[in-house]
Symmetry: D2
Subunit: 378 residues, 4 copies
């Protein structure tokens, strides 16, 4: 039975929700132990947080560069093996790059980078390093998402011809209509949040899910954003026409002004033999249409599911498992990779997903800015 | 208490589903009596059908022109007051026009005409006639659709900023992949079905619903069709970006290859203060988001509903009322208009809806054919 | 093609909801024409209502006895063939009995009679008459209820072992807590409403549905009522343990104080090989569990459904059909029987259903009153 | 900021699902550290499992008695503070009792004991000890269950008058019909599983939920079991009539032969002003009826929720949180109690819940065995 993986944490201290999610996910399958961290840019806060969660403080470093420097001094079988990057968006790229360049595996929050250019640069570092890079597109960890992917792969839908993904939230609605607020929130400031708000934050999840589940690549897109107010320069809503090829078309819809919506990610995929519908807010129900037959509802934990779906289910059918589990499944996949064990390529999102995501985000911005023209993806 | 309205029927004989729907709808609120008809192009069949449904045969005419001629000979208080046009699509325009030109009210199935040009011509006849013209966009008759419209009108959503309509069916999937079938079915033959298959048949309902519920007009659109095969010239799937104005945007999605979908019409509308979600296959549930409050579910027949919604509900809450009722509500509205009584302008779709519908359908075709460019609507 | 059936109506005039429902249902499948009626105990009102719905008034009679007398004078091929009894509960028995005794077919609202004794007496008249007697347990007309029954009959659930029916309404809640109101409403007055309020009005539907769908008979029951207040003598809530045999058990739950519930009739049936769940407020969705397989969702109108289910569906899949259709399906079944055509024994509820219903209602009262003991049904 | 609580584990090693659930739950809110354990009756397996999950092995004891003995030798600030009992049912009582008698806090899986007599004895030890005893009725940890309880407490339903709980599973269906299997499975052997199978395992959860949410106590019950086969002596299905007082009645339904059901726990509670519906398989949706108003759907994480509900929610609205979180919430409550901090009495189920549960289970057996008579609870 394997030793636990030595994990370092960057960011995620204090009240960070993403920090909780990552620590729990790392814990759930008994694969990781946290050995060191920089939880916060303030050393004091980092130390305090370590004490709060009962970690030894000898490897709580004053900053990221020190962490790299000191860890490299340790013998290889004590050294951090993998670092989880949970810092603000603009730090993802420099940290992930330096980690890979110095021989660490990386688990990285999304968006992977701020620009497509950075993404390609990080991809180069990744290739050169030979290390594992896992991008936490959390939703791909849901057992029924993995089941959907597996069934498509096995031909249950036949040739795919139509895809449709929605990611509707309403959280920015109370902000966008208030001039004061919309000019001060960091999410609408391109220097802090990157090139896109709505498409960069959530549209890219919808994009990733379409590619993840179908195994197809988006070849071109055409996008229309809504900024809502003339003095706002960041998209808070957008619709993207996509073409996977000439006869496989679809749409990605994302919004932060869909008032009342919470985390409304939903996927519809249709092919010659059938179709799938899945919604993130009810993640244990996978709706499977099969031409001419009654709708079937797949649920986690049943023997009729695929191996990879079952592996991500810890409880008997009927016990809802939440997003913690989904994240934990990704950590589990990464753990297998880190240990050099066999793993299915759906088990964690990779560098390539990150690169494609940045390609997508920039594509939407270009399409919109150039008057809603078609943009080809690489 | 009013006399029943003298109704004539064109088409709708034999096994016609639309015929049943119209007759039942005309019956439900005790407002119409059928006095004459041309049920079929074959006189024999027309007579036989009249006997089958126990109608007197003295006003079953051998063809449409004879019907007009003979009815005009009758004294005004015996003459057909209104004709319901349920014939194949290409006959809607000539019949409706001749009826209006000869002083008859008209209830007309959709699509109103084959082209936008015909639509404008019919509009001119309508204006000159002073008669009622009701277009059976059936879905506007649902009590909860009317409730949604009324609440938007009263400002419950505040300023609208996002609209999204879906109409997904899968019925053409078994046809489209078979070369033999797809080249012979009339729905994919432009000379019989008009300029568009998917957008003309169902996309236009989604379009109509967005305008009906919001009270806003689509100003421009950009469309992408999927023909699925190079030898097919009719759209079987399409996505339309719409702009109601610069800051009110949305999307209309329609498909006949969404395998497994039945009659999946769904509407999402979001505004500054709240949002609505409604789905045709569960028409008695209207989901109302209100910023910061729990989701509310409106159902028909409760005193909290608006007058116009309640008038369209005949049974106590909890008794599902179906599409027959929805159609009946439209007939009821038309009956009020025919009798010169007061009615709410949501009670039946009008000529203007028909004109806009044709404008929309042709716009989608133009947008797609010109390489997915924006088309302004009149 | 058959002549329409000559139908008489008793009750159902004015604003009567049940009247609308019956007339529409009679109309929907083109099988009936209304030839005469006593719509109201007041002759004037009866005549006025006939005019309102555009019926000839020559066979609108001043009272029920006159109707019988005058109709019997008519030649057989003009005489009313069937009468639909929609009067207050206490008139069902005497009217239905006299109709049967005089050679008329009968369509009768429920409850069939006021007592089990009356029910058995009516049953005797029915047997002697050789006429059709249809009891409008409306919910058995739903296509998916018929589908459920057919699949159980064909062994899809294997041996049944568990049944569960719920019928929850909340309408009496605003009345029951108000002493004034609860002592004056006729539904809580045993001289007007019969032996039971909740169980007699709605529990009996749940009971009927269990027997209808499973084909099994309830052999004994044990019941507990809730009167809510000491000064109230009619049940407004009750739970009934039922045994179909020693190893097939279940429960019927009915309430009029389930605050907020509308018309919450729901059925759950489980057997060795699978289970069914169906809810009246979403009548087009039939949930079918099959041991070890994903849940399947049956919907009306698909070729995978049984013949009898399909015959009750007039529109393509995805168009919700409401209770009007359900009632119309029952009229259709009765029409077949009246015409002497072949029909499936699920097509309309019969005398036997009425007798069993009264047996059930009285059984619940006895069980409760005797201290929640088991009562055997005949 | 507080030190982590020193936790010992009894049972839960190897592939135990309940073991995973408890460890994750203990981890989630950063309140516990595992300091020692007896994971298995086999010392070797216990040690191996400790290594597998990367625990130090110095406090992995060879058996329970040794654990007590050795821990008591440690200084108080190193000693285990609390033990989590996850062993087979018949060990719950002796272990919990000895732990309490020796001054340890206890977290205990359900059923708390094998008999009501044991339960009362344990209650006495608990009182004498002054220690915390938390019973893991997991479902009470769901944020929306806590919200429901809070709203009832604040009078949102007015006076409660009707309760209804269902817990339907189908897992024993493939076993019960096979003579070989049903005579050998431990769950149907009273010497191993206790006095009741279905009611003891799941019915008691339904019972607990009714008392937890309403704040009322069940005063008497009447029960009917189904054994399905004459050679089986353990209930696999049962219905329980309950009375909270003369005018507050309800029903608890539990089944292990509801074929196809997974973990179908559902609660319906109705009062003078409104009602609640909640289902465990969709735990983030709480349906709130309010007399005369549209149904409202409460979801976790919104400011409109109560403090105690919000404290149990770690992620923004729309992120489903699963049963791990629910369990974690209970651990969190227990942690507060152990540390002597203030906590709400809904935060973890207590000794009293355990005692009442055993009282309930034995009551159902007595009622059934004595011919379905009413049994009063203490």
């Amino acid at each position: 039975m394997p030793k636990k993986i030595r994990l370092g944490i960057l960011g995620g201290g204090g009240d960070s929700l993403i920090g909780v999610l990552h620590r729990v996910a790392a814990f759930i399958n008994d694969n990781y132990e946290i050995v060191g961290a920089v939880f916060s840019p303030e050393y004091d806060e980092s130390l305090a947080f370590a004490k709060q969660i009962d970690l030894p403080i000898d490897r709580i470093y004053k900053d990221f560069d020190t962490l790299i420097e000191e860890e490299l001094k340790l013998p290889e079988d004590e050294r951090m093996e993998v670092c989880s990057v949970q810092t603000p968006n603009f730090l993802h790229y420099p940290m992930a790059k330096k980690l890979l360049d110095n021989g660490f595996h990386v688990i990285c929050e999304k968006p992977m980078t701020m620009t497509y250019e950075e993404a390609k640069s990080l991809q180069a570092s990744h290739k050169a390093s030979g290390k594992v890079f896992a991008l936490t597109h959390t939703y791909t960890g849901y057992p029924m998402v993995r089941q959907m992917r597996q069934m498509i792969k096995e031909g249950e839908l036949g040739k795919i011809h139509k895809v449709d993904a929605r990611y509707y939230q309403g959280w920015i609605n109370p902000i966008i209509h208030d001039k004061e607020k919309r000019s001060s929130v960091w999410r609408l400031d391109p220097t802090k949040a990157g090139i896109s708000s709505c498409m960069g934050d959530i549209g890219v999840h919808a994009f990733n899910m379409l590619e993840f589940t179908t195994g197809l690549k988006v070849k071109s897109l055409l996008c229309d954003f809504n900024y809502m107010y003339d003095d706002n320069v960041m998209d808070v809503d957008g619709t993207v026409l996509v073409r996977m090829d000439e006869h496989v078309k679809g749409v990605i819809r994302a919004s932060q002004v869909a008032t009342g919506e919470e985390n409304g990610l939903a996927i519809r995929i249709y092919g010659e033999k059938g179709g799938f519908v899945w919604e993130q807010e009810d993640p244990n129900f996978l709706y499977f249409f099969s031409e001419g037959k009654p709708l079937q509802v797949y649920k986690p934990g049943h023997p009729y599911n695929s191996k990879i779906s079952l592996e991500g289910t810890k409880l008997p059918p009927g016990h809802p498992e939440g997003i913690f589990d989904s994240m934990a499944n990704i950590y589990l996949g990464a753990a297998k990779a880190i240990r050099g064990e066999a793993y299915d390529d759906c088990e964690f999102p990779t560098m390539e997903d990150g690169v494609r995501g940045m390609n997508f985000i920039e594509g939407t911005v270009h399409s919109h800015k150039q008057g809603n023209v078609w943009i080809d993806l690489d």
